[in-house]
Amino acid sequence: MMSQVLYSMGAFVVFPGFLFTAAVGLLVAWVDRKITARLQWRVGPPWYQNFVDFFKLLGKETIIPRGVSRISFLASPLIGLIGVTLVSLILWQTNLNPHQSFLGDLIVVLYLSILPSLAIVMGGSASGNPLGALGASREMKMILADELPFIVAIFTPVVSIGSIKLGSILIHQSINGMMFTHHISSIIALVVAFFCIQAKMTLVPFDAPEAEQEIMAGPYIEYSGPPLAIFKLTRAMALFTLPVFLITMFLGGFQFGGLGILWSVVKYVVILILIILVKNTNPRLRIDQALKFFWLRMFPLSIIGFILALVGL
C-alpha cells in the first residue's frame, strides 16, 4: 500500500509527471526559440537558456499589486501548472502501458487541458490591471473559440473506433496502424485539432490574449518572479504535452522498442516544426477574426470529419 502511494507520488513528481515534462518542455521551448531565430536570420539562444531564465525568475522578487486578491492571484499559475502536469502524466502513463488506462480518461484529459487557459483568465482578471483584464477577456473568447472544434475533432477517432479509453485507441492504432493514415475523418480532425492547440498555447496567429505590442503581455502584466516563472514553465510544458496528445489520438502514440523511439520522436518533431512554421509565417489575428476562423471554418470542418467518422470513413 505504502509503496503504491510512493509510486504514484513518484510518477506525479518525477516521471512522467512534473520534472520530466518540465525538463523536456523547456528543451522543446528552446527548439522553438532556436528555429524561430534561424528563420529570422538571428543566432538564437544556447540550449540551456530557458532553464537559466526559469531559475533566474525564481530568484526574483514577487510583487503583488495593491488591492489584489492574493489567493486567486498567486493560485492561478499553480492551477495551470497542475493541469498541464496531470495531462502529461495521464498521456505518458497511457503511452507507456496502454492496457492500464481507465474508462473516460480522454474526458479527464480534455477537461484538464483547459485548466492552463482558465488559469490565465483567472490570473489576468485578478491582477486588477485594465490591460490584464482585457487580456483575460480575450483569452476567455479564445477558449470559447477553440474548445468547440477541438472537442469535436478529438471525438472523431473515438467514433471511428468506438471506445472512449485512450488505451483502447492506442491499442487499436498499434494493431491497425495510425488513425491518420486509415481514416479520412481523422485527417480532417487532425488539421482542426492542430490549429486548436496553436490557439490553446496562444501562439501566433492566435496570440491576441497576450499581444505584446497591444496590451503588453495582457494577463501576465502584473506577474513577476516565481509566479511568472511558473506561467512560463506551464507554457513550455504545454508545447510538449499538447502535440503528444495529438500524436496519441491520431498518429499512433509513442512506441518504446528499438526504432520505435526514433519514429515517435520524428512524429513529435514534425508537429513541433509545423507549429513553429505557422507561428512564424503569420501576423496576429484580431480576436474577432480568430473567433470567426474557429467557428465559421474549423467548426464546420470538424463536423464534416465527425459525420465521415459516423459513416465509417
Partner: protein
C-alpha cells in the same frame, strides 16, 4: 468589461520606442475616443540653434532624428539658400537627391519591419531589417557613415561621389532592389496580412485634406501631395519619377504606398548616378555671408513634408529657427482613424503614420490645474530639487 475604461498606450510602451502617451477610451474591445499627449522628449533644438552658426546648425538639425537624419539638413540648407539666394551646383543637386532617396529607402523598410512587429509578424520584421542592411552599406560607401551622414552644407554637399564608385553603387542598388521586390510581393500577397490591415483605420481624402496630412499618410488617401513634385528642389525636377497614391486610405494602402515608393526612390537614384557621370564641376559654392531676412525650406522626408523657417539678422547665427516635422500634422489624424476600431487595430493605426516623436516634440507647458498657474523652468527646477531632498532624507543620505 462593458463600462468605459482607459487603456494607456504609453508613456513607455512596447508599441513604440519613443515616449508618447495615448489614452484609449474603450468600451470592451472597441475604442471610442483617443487623447494624445506628447512632450516627454523635448530637447529645445530650436533654442540651441540660435546659438550656432549656419554651418554648425546643419549638424544640429541632423540630430533631431536618427531616421530622417538627412531630411532636416536638406530642408535647413534649402532654407538658408532661400534666405541668401544661393543656387547650388548641379552636381550637388544630384548628390543631395541620392542621399535623400537612400534615406527614404531605409526609412520605409524600417517602418515596414516595425509594422510587421506591431501586428505580431516578427519574421517579416527581421527579414525586412535584414534587407535594409545593404542600404546602410550603400550609405557607408557614399557618405562614410551608416547614420548621421553629415553630407549637407549651405551651398552644396560636403563629399563628392567619385566616378569609380558608381558601378559598385549601382550593383548594390540592383541587389537591394531584388530583395525589396521579394519582400513587397510577400507582404502584398499575404492573405492574412490583408485580412488584418485592409479596411482598418480609414482616413478619407476629405479628412486627409482637413487634417493637413502630408507624405505617405496623405498619399494613401488619394491626395497626391509631394514637395518633390510640387516645388522641386535638389534634382527632383531633373529626373523622371512619379508620385505613388492609393485611394483606400486604410493601413494596407499606407503599406502599399511606402513599399512602392521604394522602387521610385531606386529609379531616382539610378538616374542621378547616371547624370553624375556626365555632370562635372564643383560640389559646393562658397557662401560668404548670410544677409538679414527670412528663408523657408522644405524637403519631402520619408514621413512627409519637413519644413524649416530661418530668420537672420545678418550675423553668422540665425535669430530664429522653426522646424515643423511631418508627424506633427499626421498625428492628429488618429482622432478620426482610431475611434470605432478595436484596441488591436488602434495600435497598428497609430503606427501607420510612421510617427517620429523626437522630430515632433516641441515646447511643454506645465499648468497647475487648480490655480491655473503656469510653471516656469525655475519653478520646475525648484520642485525637482525639493523632491531630491525629500528622497535623500528618506534614504538617510545627508549633504556633506
Amino acid at each position: 468589461m462593458n463600462q468605459k475604461t482607459i487603456i494607456p498606450v504609453g508613456p513607455f510602451h512596447p508599441l513604440q520606442e519613443e515616449p508618447e502617451f495615448f489614452e484609449l477610451e474603450v468600451e470592451g474591445e472597441k475604442v471610442i475616443d483617443i487623447t494624445v499627449n506628447i512632450g516627454y522628449n523635448h530637447r529645445s533644438i530650436e533654442k540651441i540653434a540660435e546659438s550656432k552658426t549656419f554651418d554648425q546648425m546643419v549638424f544640429l538639425v541632423e540630430r533631431i532624428c536618427g531616421i530622417c537624419s538627412t531630411s532636416h539638413p536638406i530642408a535647413n540648407c534649402n532654407a538658408v539658400e532661400d534666405l541668401a539666394g544661393i543656387e547650388i551646383p548641379e552636381r550637388a543637386k544630384y548628390i543631395r537627391s541620392i542621399v535623400g532617396e537612400l534615406e527614404r529607402l531605409h526609412s520605409h523598410l524600417l517602418w515596414a519591419g516595425l509594422a510587421g512587429h506591431f501586428i505580431g509578424y516578427n519574421t517579416l520584421w527581421m527579414w525586412v531589417w535584414k534587407y535594409r542592411e545593404p542600404i546602410l552599406d550603400l550609405f557607408e560607401a557614399v557618405t562614410g557613415n551608416r547614420n548621421h551622414y553629415a553630407m549637407m552644407k549651405p551651398g552644396g554637399v560636403r563629399q563628392d561621389i567619385e566616378e569609380g564608385a558608381i558601378p559598385a553603387l549601382s550593383k548594390g542598388l540592383d541587389e537591394a532592389e531584388k530583395k525589396i521586390e521579394m519582400v513587397t510581393k510577400a507582404a502584398l500577397d499575404d492573405p492574412v496580412l490583408a485580412a488584418r490591415l485592409k479596411g482598418v483605420g480609414i482616413l478619407s481624402k476629405e479628412e486627409a485634406i482637413d487634417y493637413c496630412a502630408v507624405g505617405p499618410t496623405a498619399r494613401a488617401s488619394g491626395v497626391d501631395i509631394d514637395v518633390r513634385k510640387d516645388e522641386p528642389y535638389a534634382a527632383y525636377g531633373l529626373v523622371d519619377w512619379k508620385i505613388i497614391t492609393q485611394e483606400d486610405g486604410d493601413v494596407f494602402a499606407k503599406v502599399v504606398v511606402r513599399l512602392l515608393e521604394c522602387f521610385e526612390s531606386i529609379k531616382i537614384i539610378r538616374q542621378c548616378l547616371q547624370k553624375l557621370k556626365t555632370t562635372k564641376g564643383d560640389i559646393a559654392v562658397q557662401v560668404k555671408e548670410i544677409p538679414p531676412g527670412e528663408g523657408i525650406g522644405h524637403h519631402e522626408a520619408p514621413r512627409g513634408e519637413t519644413f524649416h523657417y530661418i530668420r537672420s539678422d545678418g550675423s553668422n547665427m540665425p535669430v530664429r529657427l522653426k522646424v515643423r516635422a511631418p508627424t506633427y500634422v499626421n498625428l492628429p489624424t488618429c482622432k478620426v482613424t482610431v475611434p470605432g476600431e478595436s484596441v488591436a487595430d488602434a495600435t497598428i493605426i497609430l503606427a501607420a503614420i510612421d510617427p517620429c516623436y523626437c522630430c515632433t516634440e516641441r515646447l511643454v507647458k506645465v499648468i497647475d490645474r487648480e490655480r491655473g498657474r503656469k510653471w516656469k523652468w525655475e519653478d520646475l527646477l525648484r520642485l525637482s530639487r525639493k523632491k531630491t531632498e525629500r528622497i535623500k532624507k528618506r534614504m538617510g543620505i545627508s549633504h556633506e
